[in-house]
């Protein structure tokens, strides 16, 4: 569920395992955007499907998320994950959530905050999960805001 969303400012769903992104964006970008929080795939799907969201902002790592709320390549992660599998899923959860959202028809533009350090992987993801922009940690909040506006089609 989105809270405090109005039609005046475009709304982005912030999907992360904590609230760091949400807090930061609300503090510094609140005059231009609205933000809705999503802690896992299910809530992200719900927020994206609500119709008011104009974009997705995803973190990559969800290691703080309980295993039973993680998704894997096929869908919700099976119960009883071994630590190795749980780690692997958590480290790439942002991609897996977006992948599941795309699989469910969510086509909202998305910004994935990740230092992939792998150009091939970046290209691969931006191609297979489009519209998607990979945002590294080099991007400051001003640039992020620009990317968000660009994702909405308003240019940077």
């Amino acid at each position: 569920m989105l809270s405090g969303v109005s039609a005046a400012r475009p709304c982005f769903v912030v999907c992360e395992d904590g609230s760091e992104y949400l807090d930061r964006f609300r503090r510094f970008l609140d005059d231009a955007f609205r933000f809705a929080a999503a802690g896992d795939y299910a809530s992200a799907l719900a927020a994206a499907g609500a119709g008011q969201a104009r974009g997705l902002l995803l973190d990559l790592d969800f290691r703080r998320t309980p295993p039973d709320r993680l998704v894997d390549e096929a869908g919700p992660a099976p119960p009883g994950l071994d630590p190795g599998s749980r780690q692997r899923l958590a480290e790439t959860q942002g991609i897996l959530i977006l992948r599941q959202l795309r699989a469910r028809g969510v086509t909202l533009p998305a910004l994935l905050f990740a230092d992939l350090d792998d150009t091939e992987q970046t290209k691969f993801l931006e191609r297979t999960l489009a519209p998607l922009t990979i945002v590294s940690s080099r991007a400051g909040i001003v640039e992020v805001a620009g990317l968000m506006r660009a994702a909405l089609g308003g240019g940077r």
Partner: protein, 1018 residues
């Protein structure tokens, strides 16, 4: 008898210590008037005129009246004399003698009064006239003897006077009393002219049991007089022998020469010292110190006899010089035989009396006691003049003629011929003088350079001269003989000069005479003459008196003479003399008391004595003495005082002070030529203390050195610690290169900083350019809940700890090239955001923050990314995997296990794994061993190794290493997770997790059953 009491008093006075040095003239209260009234015993006068003599056969009434008038005048004269009016007495006696010119008694008394008035020539003439009138009148002789004993010319006329008085003795053969009195006077005269031996020889027979030849034994009183006189003679001799000669004071240059010679001596250059001293003694032959030093030099050169000679002269010149006595005694005792033992002992005795502290001399004297013997003096060498045989023949013939009265003057002619033949024929010249009253100029000229002959001529002429007549002929000859170094001439000239009132000249001659040889023939006479010339009177010095008594080994008598006991009322010099006696007698406490009293009275020599005595005390005794006198003595430069204080300092535990004191004492002793008994002990103690001091200083130096070394070491250690803290350690990049296994930690750290710091917090810095952005919000973003710089520091701290766990030390954060600058920029950004500034300042801060923002997202992000590029890459290809398989096979076979040869499937020719080689090898080995174990014992057991790379659904490239087997046994990740660490697949599990990979267990197509492996994101 009027003269008896006064004469007795006079003679007794000679025995009094106080008159030891008094010349006879002063010791004797003039002479004896010839009045003969025993009842008039007032000093110096008689009371009654001479009784009327028997009338002369030719005397008439006028003569009787004149004699009566003379008697009256005589009586009046004596009365005036008694009343102390000598002038009036002389005038009355003169008138009486005019009235009765033949009255020898009046003449005798007139002569006495004239002598009393100082008119010696008249007195002598008057007395001689009286004797001529009545040769048996002993008063005249007695008065004349007394008068001449006080006469300045007595030295020159002594022979004539003695001969005259001897004639008087002959004249008094029948008068025992008068003869005895005259003998005493004659002996006294001999004493005052230095002929003490003759005087003693004259007196000794009087004291024998039988008395003098033909004379009755002496009455008790008479015997006393003789004994008193003998005592006075003995004291004279001793006192004179102990008096220093008034030698000229050395000049500054001479003192310097002596000092130089002494330094040469001390340095062992005796020859050089002797040369210098020879030159010095030619200029100052009477300087005792030069003699003493040359004796040292000569002794060092082995020339002992010459050394003894110099020392003998030195002690003659300066009998108070203890060091010379000591050196002489030691030299004679050491090098002399039995014949020198007596002299050695005498010298040591003198030295010991002067310095009782020289204990070593006591022992030396004891050894000498066995060797002492007397030695007769060698006879003097005869004297001869030069003459030809012809001249001698002529002279012998002349003597024959002269013996028979020289009729016709033939003897005279022959003598003159002999002189013409040999003008330097001294005997002939003397005889010619006797005959003609002249000495030829040829003779004088010929003898002018022959000192002994010239002196013989002068002596012969002088003997022939009339008594009392001034000699004008011989003085130039004597002067010349003295210039030619004739000892007898020098002594004769001294006598002549003394007689002429030339006191300084006489003393100079006497000094030269004594300095000329060790035992001059007229030494005693010279001493007596010197005493007379010195005008000594009154009491002798207390120390001298004590020395005399101590030389007799009569300490008690010496003390009695000095006054008995030491009390504060006594004069200081007397107290000192008494202390000296006590010290000589080894009565140290008494000596100490006396010296202390004298020193308290301001007597500096006593202070020195006290110090020297204290220096001889035992440690226990010394500890009880009063230090104040010692300190006063030390301030005066008394060496012994410094030594005593040094000992006290040592006892007080002040070694440095003791050493300094000993050094000072030894230096002072050396400078003074001091040979005190404490010097060897002081030298030994000094050496010991100096050695201890050196050891202490060495120890102190070593201790200081150790401290310095320790301090330096500590400083170096501190510097090393600081340097180590500052410069130690590796950069993260270096640590990664050295130990790739650190990479997982580095990766985690970089990821954390990227995510937590750069992305979420520092990423807002770009908003500073936005005026609408809240600066407080920006500040909070970077500083809350924890400053970003602190977060980075914490991350780096964990990384450093991980590195330490792998045996490496990372650099301090400030010096690490990636994390250090990052931390500083973050800290600066935090600081800039915290402060609130005016517009201009804010713009500058904003610019700075934007610059930092650029750095963070540029340089710093690049550096962090570069660290990730340093991760290990282990490339597996067929060869590598084959060799690993071979190693596992070998070890398995060695362990006796079965082996199923694995198949190998490589997805690519080579696959890079982001894992350190050793870790990957361990993973592979354990996977393969696990598979081999699974198929062990089965003939159809199969094993396969797969190495490939793929991209997963998230787009990540993943390198995989899988080992499959055909064993049917199930295996799950949960089972592997449950395994205990340290074995088999648990090792694989842990290593895979460490390298940020994950394990896989999945089915494998037949004939295999499952695959177990690991995959790592590249």
């Amino acid at each position: 008898m009027t003269g008896g009491p006064r004469a007795r008093a006079a003679l007794m006075a000679l025995a009094l210590p106080g008159l030891l040095f008094a010349p006879a003239a002063r010791a004797q209260p003039a002479a004896v008037p010839d009045a003969g009234a025993a009842s008039t015993a007032a000093a110096g006068t008689a009371a009654a005129p001479e009784a009327p003599r028997a009338s002369a056969p030719s005397a008439g009434a006028a003569g009787a009246s004149a004699r009566a008038t003379a008697r009256t005048l005589h009586a009046q004269g004596l009365a005036s004399l008694k009343a102390g009016h000598a002038d009036e007495a002389e005038r009355l006696l003169q008138r009486a003698l005019e009235k009765d010119p033949e009255n020898a008694g009046i003449a005798t008394d007139l002569g006495y009064v004239q002598g009393k008035l100082g008119r010696r020539a008249e007195a002598e003439a008057t007395l001689r006239a009286a004797i001529a009138r009545d040769p048996r009148r002993y008063y005249a002789y007695v008065n004349l003897a007394d008068l001449l004993a006080d006469d300045p010319s007595r030295w020159e006329r002594r022979d004539q006077v003695i001969a005259f008085l001897d004639k008087g003795l002959d004249a008094l053969k029948s008068d025992d009393k008068g003869r005895l009195l005259l003998q005493l006077r004659l002996a006294n005269f001999e004493r005052v002219v230095g002929r003490t031996a003759a005087a003693r020889a004259r007196l000794q027979p009087l004291l024998s049991e039988a008395g003098a030849a033909g004379a009755p034994p002496l009455a008790r009183a008479q015997r006393k007089r003789a004994l008193d006189l003998l005592e006075a003679i003995a004291l004279d001799e001793r006192a004179q022998a102990l008096e220093d000669w008034p030698t000229p004071a050395p000049s500054a240059a001479q003192n310097q020469d002596a000092a130089a010679a002494e330094r040469a001596l001390d340095a062992g250059r005796a020859g050089e010292a002797q040369d210098g001293l020879d030159r010095l003694l030619r200029r100052a032959p009477s300087w005792p110190r030069a003699r003493f030093l040359r004796a040292r030099a000569l002794e060092s050169l082995g020339r002992v006899d010459e050394a003894v000679r110099d020392l003998e002269i030195a002690v003659n010149l300066a009998p108070s010089d203890a060091a010379s006595w000591r050196a002489l005694g030691r030299l004679l005792a050491t090098h002399g035989g039995a014949l020198e033992a007596a002299r050695a002992d005498e010298a040591l005795h003198n030295a010991l009396i002067l310095e009782p502290s020289w204990d070593d001399l006591r022992a030396l004297r004891a050894r000498l006691a066995r060797r002492r013997a007397a030695l007769a003096p060698a006879p003097a060498a005869p004297h001869a003049g030069g003459a030809s045989e012809h001249a001698r023949a002529l002279y012998r013939e002349a003597e024959e003629w002269i013996e028979v009265g020289d009729p016709g003057g033939l003897g005279r002619d022959l003598v003159l011929q002999a002189l013409a033949e040999s003008p330097t024929y001294v005997e002939a010249a003397v005889t010619a003088y006797a005959l003609t009253g002249q000495v030829g100029s040829d003779t004088v000229t010929g003898l002018w350079d022959d000192g002994p002959a010239l002196w013989a001529l002068a002596a012969g002429v002088r003997r022939l001269g009339k008594e009392g007549v001034s000699d004008t002929l011989t003085p130039p000859w004597i002067d010349r003989a003295v210039a030619l170094d004739v000892q007898e001439a020098r002594f004769a000239r001294a006598l002549a000069r003394a007689g002429a009132g030339d006191r300084a000249g006489a003393v100079a001659d006497l000094v030269a005479y004594v300095a000329r040889e060790p035992q001059p023939a007229h030494l005693a006479e010279a001493r007596a003459l010197r005493a007379g010339l010195a005008g000594a009177e009154g009491q002798p010095a207390p120390e001298l008196l004590a020395r005399i008594r101590l030389l007799e080994d009569r300490a008690d008598v010496a003390l009695s003479a000095l006054g008995g006991t030491c009390t504060a009322e006594r004069p200081a010099d007397r107290l000192r003399a008494m202390g000296l006696v006590h010290e000589y007698a080894e009565q140290r406490a008494a000596a100490h008391h006396c010296y202390t009293l004298a020193a308290a009275a301001g007597d500096a020599p006593a202070l020195a004595r006290l110090a020297r005595l204290d220096a001889r005390l035992s440690d226990a005794e010394l500890g009880r003495v009063d230090r104040a006198p010692l300190e006063r003595a030390a301030a005066r430069g008394v060496a012994a005082a410094h030594w005593a204080l040094a000992r006290l300092a040592s006892a007080d535990g002040q070694p440095a002070l003791a050493l300094a004191g000993a050094e000072r004492a030894l230096a002072l002793a050396a400078a003074a030529g001091d040979a005190d008994g404490w010097v060897p002990a002081a030298r030994a103690a000094h050496d010991g203390w100096a050695a201890a001091r050196q050891a202490e200083e060495r120890s102190e130096r070593e201790r200081r050195l150790r401290l310095e070394v320790a301090a330096v070491a500590l400083a170096l250690l501190l510097a090393a610690v600081i340097a180590r803290r500052r410069w130690r350690g590796r950069t993260v990049a270096s640590a990664l290169r050295r130990s790739p296994s650190l990479f997982p930690e580095v990766g985690r750290a970089v990821a954390e900083i990227r995510h937590d710091v750069l992305k979420h917090r520092a990423g807002v810095l770009g908003l500073v350019a936005d005026p609408a952005a809240s600066r407080a919000d920006l500040c909070r973003a970077l500083t809350e809940p924890q400053p970003t710089s602190a977060v980075v520091a914490g991350v780096y701290g964990r990384l450093a700890q991980a590195a330490r766990g792998q045996g490496m030390t990372l650099r301090p954060l400030g010096r690490e090239p990636v994390f250090g600058p990052l931390t500083r920029d973050l800290a600066r950004a935090e600081a800039l955001l915290r402060r609130s500034r005016a517009d201009a300042g804010a713009r500058a801060d904003d610019a700075a923050l934007l610059a930092i923002d650029g750095q963070l997202r540029g340089t710093h992000a690049d550096r962090l990314g570069a660290l990730l590029e340093l991760g290990p890459r282990t490339r597996l290809d067929a060869g590598e995997v084959g060799s690993w398989i071979g190693a596992v096979e070998a070890s398995t076979r060695r362990a006796g296990g079965g082996w199923a040869a694995p198949a190998l499937m490589l997805g690519e020719l080579a696959v890079d794994f982001p894992v350190e080689r050793g870790a990957l090898n361990a993973i592979f080995t354990n996977l393969l061993r696990n598979a081999q174990a699974a198929v062990a014992g089965r003939d159809d057991g199969r094993v396969i190794v797969r190495v490939d790379r793929e991209r997963d659904v998230t787009g990540r490239q993943v390198a995989r290493l899988l080992v499959g087997d055909s064993a049917a046994a199930e295996l799950t990740l949960e089972a592997i997770e449950a395994r205990e660490s340290g074995r088999g697949l648990a090792i694989v599990r842990d290593l895979v997790r460490q390298w940020r990979g994950h394990m896989l267990v999945r089915p494998e197509s037949p004939p295999f059953h499952k695959q177990v492996g690991a995959c790592f994101p590249v």
